[in-house]
Subunit: 261 residues, 2 copies
């Protein structure tokens, strides 16, 4: 898939950069699970704007129906989902992929997710859960680091080595569990292995007890446009069992989706 | 839930309205399943901007990593999901609701969705599908009209009559099937019935063969913050069977989620 430069912290304003637009997007992003309802001052602080600037953006969002206020607290409305939906609906693949993923979940009785790469993260674009819940919430649009996930290492494997290394070097690498590989060269070896075998298994490197395996979704030009994975619990499913019993079904599902592209 | 005015087509610019921000959001929304990759001219036409204005917005989006280009065609990146995810993550209820919905799907073997009201539409915020697929794609962020859906009529029932009627009058009401109720007074009677019984069943008014029943998710102040539904196929599940066998489980799930609020 196409790449883009890492997001600069403070791009320089200029003829071709609309500062007020960038600031407005930052206001939208200042709302979160920790800050679902914010005062004007909180929005200003969270988006790096003056109170006057934050007020103008909030009033614009309110006029457009993206924000409501009780006079003191501001809250995003569901209309904001239209912005993300513009992306998802611009990828009709997911409509067609979903039944394949649902059939896979019925077969293996584990959750199945699809993700794409964005800089150093994977971003979930579709997810078919089972009733067995993991600790991590992985809704559409949520992110995880690429370096320690099966989806991420496989997606990194579609980049050339220089680019994959650059992404790893830009990552905030931490030993999230005692199994997490944190050395860049060791991670590059994992990425090379994923590239060679065209699948990737990661065993408890993101979270203790969580094991997952990923397979690529590839377009007609041979580019990896996304990756599909199955996640399970290590105490129910060993790495060996996941590879032997679930990986073939996963690869078949990923190939079926790829043939639709 | 809080209400907001219908979105005006062309709000007047002024001291408290940031035109460039509003235009930038329109550029994001110009991408769709029909227009996943657009030229500068197409974006300009789709968002009502001049080429120069569209170019500045696209370059800003590119700088921020929300858009990539091959030099000719522009495409949204998955980073755009961060904007919608700001909304979803600002409602932690959905993390906690999902396991309840998954258990319900396992029990009734039909899809379960959660939605909120936005002007005249319902917007899906969470969905747990089964392997049986309906004709309509109902991903997170997708919309359906409120007037002909069980979720919509129930959510309208939480408004006062004047507001509910205003929303219906603002709706583009069509006979989508031969069963669709299109008369405003008749629809208001359906809304009143939903308010009284605190659930709503709609039988093939959105699509032939599609039947669904909805129950409210209510916060501690008694406000309906969302609605939950089960959808099924009329040829497998009659309205009577849905009401007698699935509605009790649905209401129990909705009450469990409400108690978490």
């Amino acid at each position: 898939m196409a790449t883009h430069p890492a997001q600069p912290d403070t791009p320089a304003p200029g003829d071709s950069y609309v500062q007020s637009f960038a600031r407005g997007l930052q206001v939208i992003r200042s709302f979160s699970a920790n800050a679902p309802h914010q005062t004007l001052s909180e929005v200003a602080a969270g988006s790096g704007l003056t109170r006057a600037g934050a007020r103008r953006i909030l009033l614009t969002l309110q006029t457009l129906g993206y924000v409501v206020t009780d006079g003191k607290l501001f809250t995003l409305t569901p209309r904001i989902l239209d912005l993300g939906f513009a992306y998802l609906s611009s990828m009709p693949i997911w409509n067609r992929a979903e039944p394949v993923m649902e059939a896979l979940v019925q077969q293996v009785q584990e959750s199945c997710s699809a993700a794409v790469l964005d800089a150093t993260d994977i971003v979930y674009v579709l997810r078919v859960p089972t009733k067995k819940i993991m600790h991590i919430n992985l809704g559409v649009g949520s992110r995880l680091p690429a370096y320690c996930t099966s989806l991420g290492r496989l997606l990194l494997a579609d980049l050339d080595d220089d680019e994959a290394r650059a992404r790893l070097e830009a990552s905030n690498i931490e030993a999230l569990t005692k199994h997490t590989v944190t050395d860049i060269d060791a991670l590059m070896a994992k990425v090379a292995q994923a590239r060679k075998q065209q699948w990737c298994l990661v065993n408890q490197e993101l979270e203790e007890g969580l094991i997952s395996v990923a397979a690529p979704i590839v377009d007609r030009q041979g580019r990896m446009v996304a990756a599909l994975n199955i996640s399970g619990q290590a105490n129910r499913t060993s790495a060996k069992a996941m590879q032997e019993t679930m990986l073939p079904a996963l690869r078949e599902a990923a190939e079926r989706i790829s043939r639709m592209l």
